[in-house]
Symmetry: D3
Subunit: 223 residues, 6 copies
């Protein structure tokens, strides 16, 4: 009864968040005929990162998007940790324009977590998805990002407690291939390795009776 | 992308809860070809109610079910306010049998609220919907019941804060006709009149850009 | 036992929020002899709005305030969506000065919701109401604003779950007349029409046994 | 603006809970002319306690009630820890009868905490206070009981986070005198001594700018 | 600074919960010299289970306890799903006696989740751990049980959001060996396989920088 | 089993927060041989305060630190209420450098409360404590600050509901002596007097069976 959406839009704070969070969902829906658009809001840019860092991760992102079957990728190129310094109306406007041009039934947003950019982008994205027009998206969800999402402080900051599970059992391999494109971002440390990603997908699967799953928190569903 | 379910099961604590909570959703899905089954767990039976009270509300329920287009209605006939005195395994078993025989994709449960029967039936129903078999329902939601649901104590008991809205703009009339069948249950008092139902549907609609809506809280969605 | 306050102060982020949220309460208390002061913090000003937009809504607000019986209205004239760019101490100071000059027993604040201005003004207002002086207000509440308040994300952002209900059954007409003054702000769309306002008041009334009510969340009560 | 209620009803699970929780509020309102009724639901009865234990605490309660200025005290005499074994409708009925006979504007209930009797009595009392009749009480609050209330598990069970503070600066002495009547219940241990009570009242006072206060959580206020 | 406790007590609702939840923690502390006691409250007994089921799981539990290095195991033998039918004071008493005889610094309790026995035993155990005596345990935590704990309904029932992580990287093998003893309980299904356990431990490790971890929620810590 | 940490770091928004919140814990651990470092992030500086105000409170802080036995105190000298205007990466960097140089097992942070500086510093400190390096602190807690922490709005902003209690019965006198050093900050008003501090410590003690305690909320514990 919940079938494949015709068009899906994913908002990612930084390159790799979309793959960590919903790489399997993207791969599955794309394989089932969905047109997937990805907006990458921020990037590894000066002053925190050297100029070449952005080019590296952008190239990695483009490879990963190809693996997943993404139809269109857009980069806003706002420097990391500085997203909240832009005027609110400007960021809201940029995300709104992306959503209007991709016209999705389903939108996937980053959960507002330890990383300040994730919080600001979550807020601007929910504003952009308000049901104030008949064309507003009908299915809006937030996804988890390994490590950052699980570093919110329990009882003080919102916890990611998902209600929605996407069965990605047949797409776990594709997700891992896409993750492997991000050589500059993933490492051996336990907090963000490919192995930890696989374990998380296995755990999310165990919550709803399938082998691998990605978990989502509902922002709004209109049926 | 979220289409009409092929089979829908609704668990109602007492006759009228299903119409108050999701009468419009039932009417819409039935009109769209869905096979709807309703289980009414408790009833207006002795010792709290006189013996004829149950027969009255049962007759009213059957009329309302006909208006809404329900395919099958089952009554467990447990006396009101005494549901929690049954052995847990017995109630779980009865609900599980109902779900197996109706084999739904979508299940709608009462929210655990001021009425003790609603809490006990919510709990047993969630147990019966656990994803422990491939045939477990993929879409499980809780619905609100005017008055009882809004008498939970804020900050102490769970609040009904919905994420899902079903557009019932074309079925509000049918819902009101079904409500009118429950002559013994609805009254002029502000807390549970047909007018209050209509206002609630209008308010829920205003939250997501449609004229009338019913609101649901997600228990689990597997895509 | 809770009688009419002698002086009431209402903080509104933008013109119309005070009427949408607590127009009935203002009208009732004013009719009962209370001196009501309203502070409108932000406005439809450049760069987001054309210069004449502010004059239009200001004129509309003054008419609405006259309908409701407000004794004094003050406009801070900070451009919409830019309230958070002011120094924190400056906004706190402006609200504190307004409260000292109006010296209220009861203060009504906007709930911190989807609109960033509402969040910033809520925070500054709660700071201004801290019980650090004997003259601090004894009754501080937050009110809901149709649409924005109900677009917070459940389980992630705070939900408006009210504990206080003001019976406005005799003042619903006055509230609707005041709303009608805001011709530039209200529209036919379901999310913010006069009809949706009426439905919300009807629903809030059904929660506590009266015909129409406005709902509040307690910030602090000192008896 | 919040004046003294004409009639106040207090529901206490066991003798001493009413004094620990709201002894100062009772003393203040009684001194200001309010008619106070107290219902003590459970007691130190067999099988957990020896038969004479109930007589001792009943005598102590009657002395304490005299100190506080309570007009009427009623004892339901249900054995401690066994309240939940009574039929739900019977307990609801007993509390409803008490409320109808005392006809209060304000009702004070125990918070649902570590002690199972407190939870069951809270639930039954909130049912009895539902706004289903014009005579339903307009002001319903829950109070804290030193030790038990603060033993709820954070993040798992509801926390007592009060919004209402009653200034009992002039009645702290009376509260301590009433507490001293409960010789069999209070002890030197830190968790429930007179000294700990005084410290709690001092802390609650510091939250709202007065010397001693009792704190309440709002169940419902209708203005 | 948090060293190995001298004595640890674990309360398990049914045989296998202790190993699923904290098998690695038990194994690590036992290896480091801690005396571990386990209380298994309920069991696979009639009327829900055939008489031999209890003997099977008891034998399995004893093998698993030997693998983990548990010093003492006690079985209360209350039939599964019927724990809440015992008088509250009796269950509280049985757990209190177990805790007094094992005299632990640290106690591990089941989280109150989808399984009704887990809720009732959590409540009784927290009562038994109240800090009313100098000998009360200083470190009390709740643990998660794969599948049941993650079937609580988000936003309605408490979520397991842990703050404490025990590094079990060197004891993951021992935990898996102990799990393997429960041949009658574990299965190939995704929700409760050894593989899902390993994935959960890997995910919990990723939250705090170690390879495998078990997660706990704090009930109380006294330093 | 939880012994004295070898090194403790305390982050204080303004001079006196560290003593109000955890003066007893600092004094106890210092007396037991722990090396305590304190970072005071903000100060009473222009434009809100006159230039000499900072020198006064700095002198008071140095005296208080000597009383408590603090080994090292560092002042970042950011003007009060302006902490959030600094680039996020700069504040995160300053706190990270302080933590690396003091290399603590345990870190104590301010709770994110009514004061905007407390929120910003809490966030930056939790970022600085992320478990991304083997040297990350194993024990991270948030402490309460009398008045500000208890002015968060219940049900809207996070409440301080502590799980950890440090027995400071033998160090209450030292804490009061240190508090007395802050002559410019403490006053007779009920919200922040030495007497209110003592009452809070007494109440926190009553929650866990000791005479005086300081309460903490867990951010993360790795065992």
């Amino acid at each position: 009864m919940i079938g494949t959406p015709q068009k899906l839009a994913v908002i990612a704070p930084h390159p790799d968040d979309e793959t960590l969070g919903v790489g399997g969902t993207i791969a599955r829906f794309a394989a089932e005929g969905c047109e997937v658009s990805v907006l990458i809001v921020s990037g590894h840019l000066p002053p925190i990162y050297p100029p070449e860092a952005f080019q590296t991760t952008r190239r990695e992102a483009e490879e990963a998007m190809a693996v997943l079957g993404v139809a269109r990728t857009e980069f806003l190129e706002i420097p990391a940790t500085m997203v909240h310094e832009r005027p609110v109306a400007e960021l809201n406007g940029a995300i709104t324009r992306f959503l209007r041009s991709s016209d999705p039934e389903m939108v996937l947003l980053p959960f507002p977590d330890r990383h300040i950019d994730h919080r600001v982008i979550f807020d601007a994205s929910v504003v952009a998805c308000r049901p104030v027009r008949p064309s507003a998206p009908k299915l809006v969800f937030a996804y988890e990002t390994l490590s950052e999402t699980h570093w919110n402080v329990p009882g003080v900051e919102p916890s990611f407690v998902p209600e929605v599970f996407v069965d990605i059992s047949s797409y776990m391999g594709t997700k891992e291939t896409a993750l492997a494109c991000y050589a500059s971002q993933l490492h051996e440390a336990p907090s963000r390795s490919v192995d930890a990603c696989r374990a998380l997908a296995r755990f999310r699967g165990s919550q709803n009776g399938c082998h691998f799953a990605e978990a989502l928190k509902v922002v709004r569903i209109v049926i």
